[in-house]
């Protein structure tokens, strides 16, 4: 029974860990499928976490936090579009600039507004009668079933009791699949990532498609950041994204730029994180488990994949290339 409970706890943590990765990876998918390298996911998560926490604090509503976080992330995404689409800038340079900007801006503005070393005030405070954090959703009868063996563990512990954003993340996966593979917008977006010139000659504006793709990317990345600051924790702290943007990018590549496989990759990475957290100091067969190794596994796996050992990851063909009309 102990082992079962441990597994349930790890799986429960997996869902929590995977949620921001799924939002961010889906955000990256819209961007990269349209041909824009998105190393700026990290910065978008960070800025939306900050904007979300600040807005939630001032308004007292997590939903206003979500709105503000998405707006901030969209603004950064459009900045990325302005640099890479309008001015044909290098996608990686622009992305890195956005990450650095987000890291510096959030800490500096945070300190100026709240004077707490870059942190935002806690969103849950009894003294101020403030509760601006998302509440977990408890399924019907979860309480009653909690003590039933097996079913109780799965239903009450694993499935019930998460923040609404967790459920939204898993709903977003089929939704994104539908948009990308069953709608006109998706068809044009995928075509733009493969051969923008063909899209142009088919009478479609490459610029418009790429700006729209980054708009969707910004919205989704906003969910990831707000989840970190307004649901998982109840405040923003500097650099709280802690590499999640890069890990989402790795999951996107690991999932071969497809929604379902990318979600599975996010779950795998989330599980590895959960195992790393639980196995702190654990001893297996007389050896202490090196936590750093478990934490590094997502990146190692991605490198192994890119090396061609687990099938082949084929990136969108025109990725990272600014579209400039060629002179005949």
């Amino acid at each position: 029974m102990d082992a079962f409970n441990s597994i349930i706890l790890i799986l429960d943590a997996t869902l929590r860990n995977a949620t921001p990765l799924i939002f961010a990876a889906l955000a990256g998918m819209f961007s990269e499928r349209a041909g824009i390298v998105n190393i700026a996911l990290e910065g978008k998560i960070l800025i939306s976490a900050f904007a979300g926490a600040s807005a939630a604090y001032y308004t007292g509503s997590p939903w206003m936090g979500l709105l503000a976080g998405m707006m901030a992330s969209v603004m950064f995404a459009q900045l990325h579009a302005f640099a890479t689409v309008t001015h044909n800038g290098d996608h990686v340079v622009s992305g890195l600039a956005i990450n650095i900007l987000a890291a510096g801006l959030t800490a500096a503005v945070g300190n100026y507004w709240f004077s707490q070393g870059g942190n935002t005030p806690n969103l849950v405070s009894r003294a101020d009668e403030l509760n601006a954090r998302f509440e977990p959703i408890v399924f019907p009868f979860a309480e009653a079933l909690a003590d039933v063996p097996i079913i109780g563990g799965i239903y009450s512990e694993l499935l019930s009791g998460h923040y609404i954003l967790v459920y939204l993340a898993f709903l977003a996966v089929p939704l994104c699949w539908f948009v990308l593979f069953r709608t006109r917008f998706g068809l044009r977006l995928r075509a733009t990532g493969e051969n923008p010139q063909a899209v142009d000659t088919a009478g479609i504006s490459v610029t418009k498609v790429r700006y729209l793709a980054l708009l969707v990317c910004g919205l989704l990345a906003g969910f990831a950041g707000v989840y970190l600051a307004v649901a998982l924790t109840a405040q923003f702290s500097p650099n709280m994204s802690a590499g999640k943007g890069y890990m989402a990018l790795a999951a996107l590549i690991f999932g071969k730029w497809r929604p379902k496989t990318t979600m599975l990759a996010c779950l795998l990475f989330g599980a590895l994180q959960a195992i790393a957290d639980r196995s702190q100091g654990a001893i297996i067969l007389g050896f202490e488990v090196p936590v750093q190794l478990v934490e590094a596994l997502p990146y190692i796996l991605t490198v192994v994949l890119l090396g061609g050992f687990i099938g082949r990851a084929v990136a969108p063909k025109a990725i990272g290339k600014p579209y400039v009309k060629e002179r005949a």
Binding site: L187, T201, A202, G203, A328
Partner: protein
């Protein structure tokens, strides 16, 4: 209706005073053009004459600085491809505008969807495409990714794309470059049936024979200007060539008999598999003797590039062996390109931009690429800049490279002069064996003539020459013997005097005519 508008409506397309600059380059100068409704209208001109720019303007890819475009007598402002498509203009680009991992159906639908969701668009397109392909003989597999289809099929998809969008004027930019002669013939039949249905076709090509075979009228461009409009029936190849170049041109080089000597290059059972696991060369064997030109014909992508790159030492040998001027090269004795050069082999690569030159280098730097270790260019510590520049000047003069400026960036020379830089560099090192790939790709007719002459001079000087080209005319006029490649194998050998276009065309599609089989049975290689 006035007489003027009546006459205007006879023209499907009319251009008046189209002018276009790209920076300092005047690509189109005051162009006038009238294309009669329901005809096939050819436009010829050398590379860089401004044909593609003009067509891109009609298709809304670029906007003209000045001038009017009238469709069916109505002046229109075509500011993007969307407007052009809506005005009934369709274009088949030289480099196909297809999404490689989409199916044919998805490619056709892209940009012409009938609603927000694609399923209904696909169903509607499927019905319409079945009708169109039946009517015009353009059947294609609709549900396979385009990357799995042959170039012939891909071109059909491009035509279907235009027709599906309701094109009444169809522009084809160099459509035959990638086709076998038989596929070309089929294409012209398709164009004829389109014409019979009232579609106007504009055919851009640099192949004069095709213009004569397929068009009703022809317009000639030279250096950004429209220099002549003639009825096809009233002209011939020589006149058109003269109009294109501005002077008399020898289309056929005079070639004496060859005097083959010892075998200088010999390939035994060479095979090669690429990184994706596709067999690119399959058991290839051939000999090239001193003083002869062996031509390799074939539709591009059938292993010719891989053969050249293996011989030049760029790609390592998997199995089989190569005797290069007395040196053996096989899997156990690899040679790098530099060692191959030292063994007396010169290599003029197929793609001068990718392999032959570094575009941002000056001409004098380009001239020592690959030979930069040579004694005469190097001092004790640094390279001998002055000697290199002097050497470059001398060679530029000898090869008539224009402009004769050693400091000019390679990118700023015309295609023909860039090619001369590469050819001069390799030939001036006086190799015993010359590997030549696509020597006149993107080179104008005037320069083709002089490049061909130089290649024949090398042959007569006793060099062994292996020539790869997708231009059948070039292969036929230069080679002493012709090998045809298909899917990585050598289909057969034809002596130059037996190499008519039909025979080569069949062999390029892997069909060996009986008389060639008989020839090969007589004299085993």
């Amino acid at each position: 209706m006035t007489a003027q508008t009546q006459s205007a409506a006879e023209y499907a397309l009319e251009l008046r005073g189209i002018d276009k600059h790209f920076g300092a380059v005047h690509a189109n100068k005051n162009i006038d053009l009238k294309v009669e409704k329901g005809t096939i209208h050819g436009i010829v001109g050398e590379n860089g004459a401004g044909k593609s720019t003009l067509m891109s303007i009609i298709y809304g890819f670029y906007e003209a600085d000045q001038g009017d475009i009238a469709i069916d007598g109505r002046v229109l402002k075509i500011k993007d491809s969307k407007t052009a498509i809506a005005s009934g203009i369709g274009m088949v680009h030289q480099h196909f505008m297809l999404i490689q991992n989409f199916t044919a159906l998805e490619n056709v639908v892209l940009g012409a969807e009938s609603g927000e969701l694609i399923d209904e668009s696909l169903d509607k397109a499927r019905a319409e495409l079945n009708r169109l392909s039946e009517e015009f003989g353009l059947s294609v597999p609709l549900d396979q990714p385009v990357e799995e289809l042959s170039v012939g099929f891909q071109q059909r998809i491009e035509i279907l794309k235009a027709l599906y969008r309701g094109a009444r004027i169809l522009i084809l930019d160099e459509p035959t470059g990638v086709l076998t002669p038989q596929e070309t013939e089929h294409l012209f039949k398709v164009l004829d049936s389109l014409k019979a249905q009232g579609t106007t076709v504009i055919l851009i090509t640099h192949k004069l024979r095709e213009i004569l075979a397929a068009t009703d009228n022809v317009s000639v461009m030279r250096r950004g200007e429209m220099v002549a409009h003639v009825k096809t029936a009233e002209t011939n190849q020589e006149d058109l060539a003269e109009l294109m170049v501005g002077r008399k041109v020898l289309l056929q080089v005079d070639k004496g008999d060859s005097a083959p000597g010892d075998v200088k290059l010999s390939v035994h059972n060479l095979s090669m598999t690429d990184s994706a696991g596709v067999k690119r060369l399959d058991n290839v064997s051939l000999n090239v003797r001193a003083g002869e030109i062996v031509g390799i014909a074939g539709v591009s992508g059938n292993g010719q590039s891989e053969l050249l790159e293996t011989l030049a030492g760029i790609t390592p040998v998997d199995s089989g062996s190569i005797d290069l001027n007395g040196h053996t090269l096989d899997a156990r004795h690899p040679m790098n390109p530099s060692q191959v050069r030292k063994a007396g082999i010169g290599h003029i690569p197929e793609d001068r931009h990718r392999m032959g030159l570094i575009n941002t280098f000056s001409a004098y730097e380009a001239f020592v690429l690959g030979y930069h270790r040579n004694h005469e260019y190097n001092g004790a510590l640094t390279m001998k800049q002055a000697a290199i520049i002097a050497d470059c000047k001398e060679k530029m003069e000898r090869w008539d490279v224009r402009p004769q400026d050693p400091y000019l960036k390679t990118a700023n020379f015309s295609g023909g002069n860039q090619q001369k830089l590469v050819i001069a560099r390799e030939i001036e090192q006086n190799p015993d064996v010359l590997l030549i790939g696509q020597p006149t790709r993107g080179v104008d007719i005037g320069a083709i003539e002089s490049i061909h002459k130089r290649i024949l001079e090398m042959r007569d000087a006793g060099k062994a020459i292996l020539l790869v080209s997708v231009e059948l005319d070039e292969i036929r006029s230069l080679s002493d013997r012709i090998l045809v490649m298909f899917d990585g194998t050598i289909v057969g050998e034809v002596p130059a005097d037996k190499a008519d276009e039909r025979t080569l065309g069949l062999m390029m599609a892997n069909i060996v005519p009986d008389e060639i089989k008989a020839l090969q049975a007589e004299e085993p290689a």
